[in-house]
């Protein structure tokens, strides 16, 4: 059968000298590769084992691997143009595995893909399509990096990236050009050797550059911790988190070496976007530099020369970084691990932070307010006390118990639940769930609070909880697991969405923009339920950054308790963005977001209304219900 398509030309015969040359180059290349890669692998393997790491369940790992690595889904979805270009480069590399093996085998007459045979010909054409896409892609990426210069790729131009791009282009070009030469012609041989050279130069360069991710990132994605912001347990009496090199674990080291420096994490970081010191990419690269310089056995502090303590404590734990990372780096356990290392050893000195911990040490609430204030609120609102007979335990949390806005939200949720005929009660005493302690890295206080709360819930026979605060929900459902078996908990948006058919839309329909809380959206994957409830108020409009791209309000990570921010205020930036949509109402589902926006809108008389979805749900209810009026 005769194809009209061109076929790949290959030198038909290699001289002994050529064979020797090839072998020498191959050996040198592999040895040079191993010289560096072996060191890196050593640093990773010599790091501490990860406690609490389980390979099972394996199916989700395989699924994530296929989705993120094979299909490049995250890479494309979060940055479509550049992502697609990269995807083609990656797929081309995958297609080229067989091509390259055949290329090397052919030297010794062991080629298994014949350009004449049906299979070989088809395969070479198949690879050629990818090679073309790859060549175009790499060219585009080169232009982007060196001419368009996006901010998050860094200030300095990376000549290393340029050189690698050149090599990749050369590999593709030499391959494609060979479709237009004849087997016997000297240009074929020349192309063949150029291709070989490019290959053998590329290989040893790999482990010295960020292109190490070619080798590592499939493993990084596969061996991730699973979940989102999964904080590992501390083990033994000498484990205080990420203190020095010898606290780094294999997963952390693997992730540090996998960073491709794409800057997606930094691009979406709210702290970085408001001119603070924190740069998530630099945090990871700082660890990599530490490992390169000092290794995994060093006792030199991780926070110091390689990463600033101040930067690490500017993190709101919003998770945009971890969510974006295409190679599976989990920034949150790293940032929180570094915080743990500082806080658990007492090397973090902060007036507000210290006061927060002292308040929580006394076992009550994060705001340091007398618990009798909560009792008074419960009495005024006539909230029933949970006694094991009601269906739900309504968890107030610190904001719901003490903050005037939080209390309004609780009061409205209670009204709705009464209207729906759902039985609920509040616990007589609540201690803080420990979220701020957990996110700031104070494991002592967190353990005390988690254990005390779990004990109280077991004693009171709590089975199901509904809470107004996504931080409480996350901490209770996930973080408390380390110390016991928490009851089932859901966020009030999930609860209300289920009962939507029993709730009335507002008479006056307005435009409403819903702000996705970090701990409900990225952490819990809940985007539709709160919108369903918010749409009772009218038409939903979306902020430019919404859903998994939602921009943090600035309160998370314990920062709401740490006093004034430096630079621009994250909450004000987000509030301005929400107001700019022209919506008449800003819908929230987290009392912290609500508090931050309340502050931001305070000075602005033209600000939109600020309503929690519980307040929206309650608006259409008859006004005079028991316990209504005044918080």
């Amino acid at each position: 059968m005769n194809f009209a398509f061109p076929s790949l030309a290959e030198p038909q015969h290699f001289s002994l000298a050529e064979k020797l040359l090839f072998s020498t180059l191959a050996l040198a290349s592999v040895l040079l590769f191993w010289r560096r890669f072996g060191v890196v692998l050593g640093k990773i393997l010599h790091s501490k084992k990860d406690p609490g790491f389980h390979l099972a369940p394996i199916l989700p790992r395989i699924r994530d691997f296929v989705w993120e690595v094979a299909l490049q889904a995250k890479v494309i979805r979060q940055r479509p143009a550049a992502g697609l270009a990269h995807a083609f480069v990656f797929w081309a590399f995958c297609a080229f595995v067989l091509v390259t093996l055949n290329h090397c085998a052919a030297v010794f007459g062991l080629g298994f893909l014949s350009p004449d045979g049906y299979l070989g010909r088809a395969y070479f054409l198949f690879a050629a399509l990818f090679a073309l896409a790859c060549a175009v892609g790499i060219l585009g990426l080169f232009v982007r990096r060196f001419f368009l210069r996006p901010k998050w790729l860094g200030e300095k131009l990376s000549w290393e990236s340029g050189f690698i791009a050149l090599l990749i282009f050369a590999l593709m070009a030499t391959y494609l050009a060979a479709f237009f030469t004849a087997d016997a012609s000297p240009s074929t041989r020349a192309l063949w050797w150029l291709h070989t050279l490019a290959l053998f130069v590329f290989l040893p360069i790999l482990p010295y550059t960020k292109h190490l991710h070619l080798v590592l990132s499939p493993f990084t994605v596969f061996f991730s911790r699973g979940g989102f912001s999964r904080i590992p347990p501390l083990v033994g009496d000498e484990d205080f988190g990420l203190v020095a090199g010898d606290s780094l674990t294999q997963i952390v080291s693997l992730q540090a070496y996998s960073c491709v420096e794409c800057g997606r994490c930094t691009e979406h970081c709210p702290a970085n976007n408001t001119s603070k010191l924190l740069n998530p990419k630099q945090v990871v690269l700082g660890l990599r530099d530490y490992l390169n310089d000092l290794g995994p056995a060093s006792t030199e502090p991780l926070l110091g020369k390689y990463n600033a303590q101040q930067a690490v404590f500017e993190c709101t734990t919003c998770g945009a970084c971890e969510f974006q990372c295409p190679v599976g780096i989990e920034h949150l356990p790293i940032l929180i691990g570094l915080r743990r290392g500082a806080v658990n050893t007492g090397t973090w000195e902060d007036d507000h932070g210290g006061q927060l911990f002292l308040n929580l040490e006394r076992g009550s609430n994060a705001l340091g307010i007398s618990p009798s204030e909560r009792d008074k609120f419960i009495q005024r609102q006539q909230l029933p006390i949970f006694d094991g007979t009601q269906e739900y335990c309504l968890w107030l949390g610190c904001m719901g118990s003490y903050d005037p806005k939080g209390r309004e939200i609780v009061a409205d949720l209670a009204r709705v639940m009464r209207h729906l005929g759902i039985t609920f009660g509040v616990l007589r005493k609540e201690k803080c769930t420990g979220d701020p302690a957990r996110r700031l890295g104070n494991d002592l206080v967190f353990q005390q609070l988690a254990e005390a709360n779990l004990e109280a819930m077991a004693k009171n026979k709590v089975k199901k909880i509904v809470a107004i605060c996504p931080h409480c929900v996350r901490t209770i459902q996930e973080d408390w697991k380390e110390f016991g078996a928490p009851p089932i908990i859901e966020h009030h948006s999930e609860f209300l969405a289920r009962h939507l058919h029993q709730l009335q839309p507002a008479q006056n329909q307005e435009k409403i923009v819903f702000h996705d809380p970090c701990y409900l959206g990225r952490y819990r994957n809940i985007y539709d339920e709160p919108r369903a409830v918010a749409s009772l108020a009218g038409t939903i409009v979306e902020a430019p950054r919404s859903h998994e791209r939602s921009f943090c309000c600035g309160a998370g990570g314990g920062l709401a308790f740490l006093g004034e921010e430096s630079g621009e205020r994250i909450g004000q930036v987000r509030a301005a963005e929400l107001a700019a949509t022209g919506a008449e109402i800003v819908g929230t589902a987290c009392p912290f977001c609500n508090s931050m926006f309340r502050d931001a809108f305070a000075a602005d008389s033209a600000a939109p209304q600020l309503l929690d979805i519980a307040q929206i749900a309650a608006r259409a209810l008859p006004v005079r219900e028991p316990g209504n009026g005044g918080v």
């Binding site: 204030e373 903050d403 006093g563 502050d599 005044g630």
Partner: protein, 321 residues
């Protein structure tokens, strides 16, 4: 029959007002018995003359060169001797920092304990003092042969009125050796003048968004001046630049616990109240009767700031006359 000894204290050359209150308590305790007033120092003539205007009983001038500056060793030694000499059944003090510094040691020398910060004396005598930071009252009784030592809280008793008749003044020179005085105090000083020291202010007037515009600030400043108070503000005021950031009270500003905090036009959002809820007495002035600030206030006035504050300034000025 009670034989009461009242020990006065001087401040800046005059008898402290709280000393007159202790005198009233002493008079109440002595009933039909005898009352002696003691003044201490190096030259106590002025003190004694002043004391004579308010009592017609005995006044004892306890004088010694080593009592020039207050030291616990000096005062304890001196009083121990005068007590041994006078054998009172009760010794009454004003509850001041100075008294707290030495009287417990003095009482221990007599095998007993000071009943401090008394707010009321009932028949018995039974002494009432506050426990649990003012949440409970406790009734105390003294037994045993030695004298009963007590100190009275400022404002619990009225200051002694002017007395008619001539008091009898006598002198007492205690025996004190220089080697007995083990502490060397310096002259008292004030803290370095800082631009704003909210932390040590006894009275603070906090202003919030109810002030509406920076043009209305002078009203608040007049109230603060009349009270001798420091100015503080909630966050929106500082954000708007009407007052400097260092005057911000709240979760992102300072935490204060003055004796009196007047919250003018402050709604009571938690970001502010966490910074001032520890104040001993909180007064809230707000137009909105449902404002959360009233939750934490001891006294509240619902009204327009612009009317209430000037009225308050007038009332304060009148009271201070």
């Amino acid at each position: 029959m009670n034989n009461v000894l009242v020990v006065l204290e001087q401040r800046a050359g005059r008898i402290a007002r709280i000393g007159w209150e202790a005198l009233t308590a002493g008079v109440q305790l002595s009933g039909a018995g005898s009352l002696t007033v003691a003044v201490l120092g190096t030259d106590t003539e002025a003190q004694a003359t002043e004391a004579a205007t308010r009592t017609s009983g005995k006044i004892v001038r306890v004088e010694h060169a080593l009592l020039a500056a207050y030291t616990p060793d000096g005062y304890t030694a001196a009083l121990e001797q005068i007590i041994q000499s006078e054998s009172p059944t009760h010794v009454v003090f004003p509850h001041t920092y100075q008294v707290r510094d030495y009287v417990p040691a003095l009482a221990a020398r007599f095998g007993t304990v000071l009943i401090g910060d008394v707010i009321a004396i009932e028949s018995g005598p039974v002494f009432t003092r506050q426990l649990m930071q003012g949440r409970l009252n406790g009734n105390y009784r003294h037994s045993g042969k030695g004298p009963c030592f007590l100190s009275v809280q400022a404002g619990a008793f009225a200051a002694a009125a002017q007395a008619e008749g001539a008091a009898s003044i006598s002198s007492f020179t205690p025996v004190i050796d220089a080697a007995q005085i083990r502490t060397r105090p310096s002259e008292p000083f004030r803290a370095e003048a800082q631009t704003v020291d909210l932390g040590s202010a006894q009275t603070i007037v906090g202003v919030g968004r109810g002030i509406k515009s920076a043009d209305n600030l002078p009203l608040i400043e007049e109230l603060a001046a009349a009270l001798g108070a420091e100015l503080a503000a909630s966050r929106p005021i500082c954000d708007a630049g009407w007052l400097p950031m260092e005057r911000q009270v709240g979760s992102s500003g300072q935490t204060v616990a003055p004796r009196l905090y007047i919250a003018a036009g402050i709604s009571g959002a938690i970001q502010h109240t966490v910074g001032m809820k520890g104040s001993q007495c909180i007064v809230a002035i707000n137009k909105d009767p449902d404002a959360p600030i009233f939750e934490v206030a001891d006294y509240g006035i619902v009204g327009d700031l612009l009317e209430v504050v000037p009225a308050l300034t007038e009332a304060v000025k009148a009271a201070k006359q």
